[in-house]
């Protein structure tokens, strides 16, 4: 379907001069990419510098004017990127004019700092402005005592909803859902449903995707997209145009599974049901955008050995959170080092081995990381599952042998030319094939194994992998050297 299937119908007494699309020459020449394009949406660095300069000179009139022109997410960026003192000053001065939505875009660490300068009553007024799901996400990380103090200033019904929301597991459908869901009895007509929507007036959510049909027990028995409703005849039974077998999501479903549902189908909203299967909320596709982003960030950071990160966190907190992963790495590095120690005799005789050994271990680590990255991502997107474990593992091992052989030849020749010893070249070549073979094997089996044990492959697989590639890299290289290079 295309726009020119919607010619604006000429109406009596009105002149519609809108040209139809197909009357327009389809000349679309690409606009030159501008340098400023990287700030296409969001806070430009010039605006940022201007505002910070005004903060420093205490010119709050200018700050206010500038900030009023920004989107809430841009203001959040401003508060996140500026120094802690500047951010606190800004919140103190601007609190009254900031859109409550601003706070929903802030990272946990900065948010906590900024809330510290606001009174419980002021925070409560922010909470009162927001949808239940946003209110809950602002409050979920706050100490219970402070939270209770804040909620004392919120009206009873919002408090009840927020408190109920907080009882649902973190990162579950219950935390994501909006409570403002439009449910109508299954036997209504289209006209009646439309009149009902009109009658709801201000209580109708602005962003409305679907209506849900419910039976007398409040179970979901149908789902109707707004577009379907609008184009149907007023007299038609609504159940006739409804999808009668809609997806439903139990309230404690992990948000990752909810995101998977949206990725794997064309639905724009799904009803959330409690354990008696009653409709209690709705999750819409725009709530899912941030979940998908969040889950991807988590995977990226975890693969890089970072548990969670916040640029606004103080250095000491960051150092400590990363220390643990580095410590585990140190233990595995010491294991590899211990393996090398077993070959002191041959290292003493042939110092070239010490020069070359990092290459074998490093190439194994890199090849293994490639495989690991693919496997972790494929497990996350469900492209890898029991159905193809075996085929993918076989393929990755084969890839390891192929590239292992290629680099064995390259490195064998280089070593021969460098150290004028063909036998040393053969030893490094043999070690290279061996290590890349095991890298491919471990790169798939480790994440699959962790996944089957219900551990997150992104977080721990890399340590195990480098342990394997270091130990096998060093021991195969130095072991082969001991066998073939040392004259008895």
């Amino acid at each position: 379907m295309s726009p020119d299937q919607f010619p604006i119908p000429p109406q009596e007494g009105e002149q519609t001069t809108l040209p139809r699309f197909d009357e327009v020459a389809p000349v679309v020449k690409p606009v030159e990419e501008e340098d400023e394009e990287e700030n296409f949406y969001g806070l430009s660095d010039e605006t940022y510098s201007g505002i910070i300069a005004a903060v420093h000179t205490g010119d709050w009139l200018t700050v206010e004017q500038e900030v009023l022109d920004l989107e809430p997410s841009d203001i959040a960026d401003l508060l996140e990127k500026s120094s802690r003192d500047d951010a606190l000053e800004m919140v103190k001065h601007l609190h009254g004019i900031l859109d409550s939505e601003t706070y929903t875009y802030l990272g946990y660490d900065r948010l906590k700092k900024l809330f510290a300068v606001l009174s419980p009553r002021e925070i409560a007024s922010i909470i009162a402005d927001l949808n239940t799901d946003d209110a809950i996400s602002l409050l979920e990380d706050i100490d219970e005592e402070d939270r209770r103090e804040i909620l004392r200033h919120v009206n009873e019904r919002s408090r009840a909803l927020v408190e109920e929301g907080l009882t649902f597991p973190e990162d579950s459908a219950g935390r994501l859902m909006q409570r403002d869901v439009v449910a109508i009895p299954q036997f209504w007509t289209v006209g009646k449903a439309l009149d009902y929507l009109q009658a709801l007036g201000d209580e109708l959510p602005e962003q409305l995707y679907d209506l849900f049909l419910v039976n007398p027990r409040h179970h979901v028995v149908g789902q109707v997209a707004i577009g379907q409703l609008l184009r149907a005849k007023r007299g038609a039974k609504i159940s006739e145009i409804a999808d009668e077998d809609p997806h439903t999501v139990p309230i404690d479903t992990d948000q990752e599974h909810v995101a998977a549902l949206f990725k794997r189908s064309t639905v724009t909203s799904v009803p959330v049901i409690d354990d008696t299967e009653r409709l209690i909320g709705v999750i819409t596709v725009d709530d899912i955008v941030s979940v998908i982003d969040e889950e991807a960030s988590e995977d990226i950071l975890r693969l890089g050995g970072v548990e969670n990160d916040d640029l606004a966190q103080p250095a000491l907190a960051t150092a400590w959170s990363r220390f643990r992963w580095l410590f585990v790495n140190l233990l595995t590095a010491m294991l590899a080092s211990f393996v090398v120690g077993q070959f002191e005799a041959v290292l003493e005789k042939i110092v070239a081995l010490a020069v070359l050994m990092p290459i074998v271990a490093g190439m194994g680590g890199n090849a293994g990381t490639q495989t690991l990255t693919v496997a972790v991502r494929a497990l996350a997107t469900k492209e890898l599952s029991a159905a193809n474990y075996w085929r993918v593992t076989l393929k990755e091992t084969l890839v390891g042998v192929m590239n292992g052989s290629a680099f064995a030849i390259i490195m064998g020749v280089v070593t021969w030319l460098w150290f004028h010893d063909p036998r040393l070249g053969m030893v490094i070549g043999g070690a290279m094939v061996t290590n890349l073979f095991f890298a491919g094997l471990a790169g798939t089996l480790i994440p699959i194994g962790l996944y089957k044990m219900k551990a997150d492959p992104a977080i721990s697989a890399a340590v195990f992998l480098t342990t394997v590639t270091d130990v096998i890299g060093f021991s195969s290289f130095l072991g082969l050297a001991t066998i073939f290079l040392v004259q008895k």
Copy 2:
């Protein structure tokens, strides 16, 4: 707002027995997590095995029945995970009953293989079934000649739209947009707009989020969410309830920027405009879900040294695509090895250095990777920009010194105890601080530098980083050893 603000209004002559939400005891006890939960949505491994077994025995009746129960995305999974021969057999037999949407979920490699067994006419019938944006994404990777042959069997107007779509840059707004956008004159009333929607009937898109108000030159001058329209008075001017300054997206905007716009605001659809600012299409939030997922996958894979991956690709193609990155790594590993070679004299005297040196380089690599991962992700999400380059770099360097000092002490003591030489412990400690300091510095400056040079930091930063941490790790450790441990 909450569901119990929508009590179903009792209507004359009808009995609504729907209980109100607040009459329901809010007992929501968490359901036990089941083992099957990992297949909550999607193709279960049992179903998969059952179908493949039926394929192998040629029991196509069973295959058909099973497949008809699956969602298009699940069938795509089935075709993706099965061996190539099984997939080809299935498409040959099932083509007639498969939903065209199925093909939109397939990876490029598998899709190409499967299209090879279908005639141009059969592919054309798939294309004709799809929205323009989906049709374009299926056709964009097909050879031009084959594509032309396929399009010969498509009706003229779809062909024109697809061909026009293909002229827009890949990964641009033009490829993402749907052409079925509902535009109405700015001076209409709410009632008139509603009647118009009703009159459009089947031509109205099912998934409708917003209407766009246009002026006589077809420029976008307002945006109205459907919910706003439905709840407004029929007599009201539509321009009164519209957002009068909506975001618009030029047609050649990169999809990453479009995704950023959706992430940074609460819009559910944005109008796409051509270079004369005329409205020509719309991008909706559900189109963006796959973009966000795609961009995140790309970043994850690139950080892991994988250009692009397809589990269904043959091993040789995968090996070759990864070879290039490994080759670059080999060159940098040889550089590090060359640095070690400069210290042959001290390595010959103290073999313990060869045993310990991988630890210093490895810890630097891991600490640098942590910093790098955070920086690359923050650059992608725009949390890191010129406004805070300096502060983040300083912080990361500080984190490096902190953890460097901690591990200097740990490794110094371990080395002292292991090799009974306090001076060797001091040397490894000094090298550790030095390397982790530079790891923090390089971990931020390298991705920032690449970003400023318009290169993708995800794809090349890791090579540069390990080069730095290897070279500095080996040379500081062996250099300090030469100075402090070798008696002249």
